[in-house]
């Protein structure tokens, strides 16, 4: 791995992976505790519509994707606030229509066509330095916003009604959360692809959640775990000449199933010991 770092593309890939891990660790924690994984998936897929628009109209890539994703995300946020029981259906529809819209617009655009695979799995090995700077700025802005609204986000995520009674502007905060999520998803997709975004948003926070006692611990733990997954995934892809994004996801996926297995075993073990304790107590009485 060390000799791999002599290559600039490898250093950039590593930096991109680490930045994506930190951003996804923070936002993923909020996604998992607010149970908006499906909504995040919807934003990530609908973003493809934005790519199509940007290509068709010849707009700069970021203007098209961020604009479209933000609009789609706000519709999803409004729907999930106003009619909760319809939300998943409508998110599913926007998800599908956004992607279809993107593909058709790219079909209609003459000349060079963007590769769907690079959108899905990203191209972490070809990240230009300019993208790293953009990710860094997005990361800093998101960290500051989350730090500033930490107590309000915590109250909203844990007990929305109580937060409202205490005067927390829950609606505005929810739109802010979804807005940050949309920007995160678009920025990180560019670098590591749609599938890796979803994996990094959900797998590390899920594994870490059980072992932490606060959102901030969960955010730090998820960022760290995400970084471990990206670094080891990148190393595997370098050593065995595999697709980088898929390797990172496989590492994360294996860790996910291992954590489920360990949890199962520990619950089983606890049941056995408490049962044994009870047996020991009974004869004594």
């Amino acid at each position: 791995m060390i000799e791999a770092l002599h290559f600039e593309f490898m250093r950039n890939a590593l930096m991109a992976g680490l930045l994506a891990s930190i951003i996804c660790g923070i936002m993923g924690t909020l996604v998992v505790v607010n149970r908006i994984v499906f909504l995040s998936g919807g934003i990530a897929h609908a973003a493809y519509g934005g790519i199509g628009i940007a290509f068709y109209f010849g707009w700069p890539y970021l203007v098209g994707t961020i604009g479209f994703s933000l609009a789609a995300a706000m519709v999803m946020a409004a729907v999930s606030l106003h009619s909760k029981h319809r939300a998943d259906t409508i998110i599913g529809v926007i998800w599908a229509v956004g992607m279809a819209c993107g593909i058709i617009l790219i079909d209609l655009t003459p000349g060079y066509n963007v590769d769907l695979m690079s959108y899905l799995f990203g191209s972490i090995l070809t990240v230009p330095t300019s993208d790293l700077w953009i990710m860094l700025v997005v990361g800093i802005v998101i960290t500051l916003l989350v730090a500033f609204y930490y107590q309000d986000l915590l109250a909203m995520s844990y007990d929305e009604e109580f937060a409202r009674i205490r005067g927390v502007p829950v609606r505005a905060l929810y739109f802010l959360l979804i807005g940050m999520l949309a920007v995160t998803v678009v920025m990180v997709i560019q670098v590591v692809g749609l599938i890796l975004v979803i994996a990094l948003l959900t797998i590390p926070p899920f594994i870490v959640e059980r072992h932490t006692r606060s959102l901030i611990q969960m955010m730090i733990g998820s960022s760290f775990l995400g970084a471990v997954f990206t670094v080891s995934g990148l190393w595997l892809s370098y050593a065995f000449d595999l697709t980088s994004g898929a390797s990172i996801i496989m590492v994360a996926g294996i860790a996910f199933f291992l954590s489920l297995l360990i949890e199962r075993l520990s619950i089983h073990h606890r049941h056995k010991t408490t049962a044994a304790d009870k047996e020991r107590v009974v004869p004594g009485q």
Binding site: L154, I165, R166, V168
Partner: protein, 256 residues
């Protein structure tokens, strides 16, 4: 008779075209200790949320301490139903109670004073030893005490509790109602409960909610009350639960 702390006048609330509460009138006296009973889906939680200003009535008015429900809600301590809370959420008991220190318009800072007030409230609920414990690791009764501590740090004049004793054994329930009785010396209490024995022992008055509302100024449970509130009582409620203070043990006749 002291002033009314909550005044509900001719309130009607419908959800998705379904009438939940109809022409409800009630005045809660300051210092009262009221139990709210009624069948599931009868509108008990809805009524609490209307008083808290979380829901708006389709018709009628709700005044809390002379203000609109939304403005006054910060003077109300709310203890929600435990089953609606996410038990896997990574949060310590201390941080749950800390939420009660959030104030509108003020950027929350975790000051030493906040911490002291929160620890005092936990101490009072005999939960100080569990301050750093993850909320999901506590028992149902302990979690309820944490939620009460959270409501207490808001310095409420009125406390609303939604089925706080669900899933707690009868000894725990008696302790819990004893605790509420003590708190009642400082504040008005409205508690949703199905436990008629606890109600007849501890509370001052009873309100029955099943789309309509009936207020009973004494804590007496009558057979007619039960039959109107819980249709088909004979099968769904175990007769033993009707053993109540000041009420002869009665087994309801079959509805035929």
């Amino acid at each position: 008779m002291k002033d009314a702390i909550v005044k509900i006048e001719d309130v009607t609330f419908a959800y998705n075209g379904q009438m939940v509460l109809e022409s409800v009138n009630m005045a809660i006296r300051s210092g009262d200790f009221i139990a709210m009973i009624g069948p599931n889906g009868g509108g008990k939680t809805t009524l609490l949320k209307l008083i808290l200003g979380l829901l708006k009535p389709n018709r009628g008015s709700i005044r809390v301490m002379g203000d609109s429900a939304e403005t006054a809600s910060r003077h109300i301590g709310y203890v929600p139903q435990d089953i609606h809370m996410n038990r896997h959420f990574p949060i310590s008991a201390l941080d749950v109670v800390m939420m009660g220190r959030l104030k509108p318009g003020r950027r929350f800072k975790n000051t030493g004073k906040d911490r002291r007030v929160v620890l005092e409230a936990l101490e009072r609920m005999e939960m100080a030893a569990y301050a750093d414990t993850r909320i999901g690791k506590l028992s149902g009764g302990q979690r309820q005490r944490v939620f009460i501590a959270r409501a207490l740090v808001t310095k409420p004049k009125l406390m609303l509790l939604d089925e706080p004793t669900a899933g707690i054994d009868s000894k725990g329930q008696a302790d819990f109602f004893q605790l509420l009785k003590e708190l009642n010396t400082e504040m008005t209490i409205l508690v949703v409960s199905h436990d008629l024995l606890m109600i007849s022992t501890y509370v001052k008055s009873v309100v029955c909610v099943n789309r309509h509302l009936h207020y009973h100024p004494q804590a007496e449970i009558t057979g007619e009350m039960l039959e109107t509130m819980y249709p088909s009582t004979g099968e769904t409620i175990c007769p033993v639960e009707l053993v109540a203070h000041g009420l002869p043990h009665r087994v309801l006749t079959d509805h035929k």
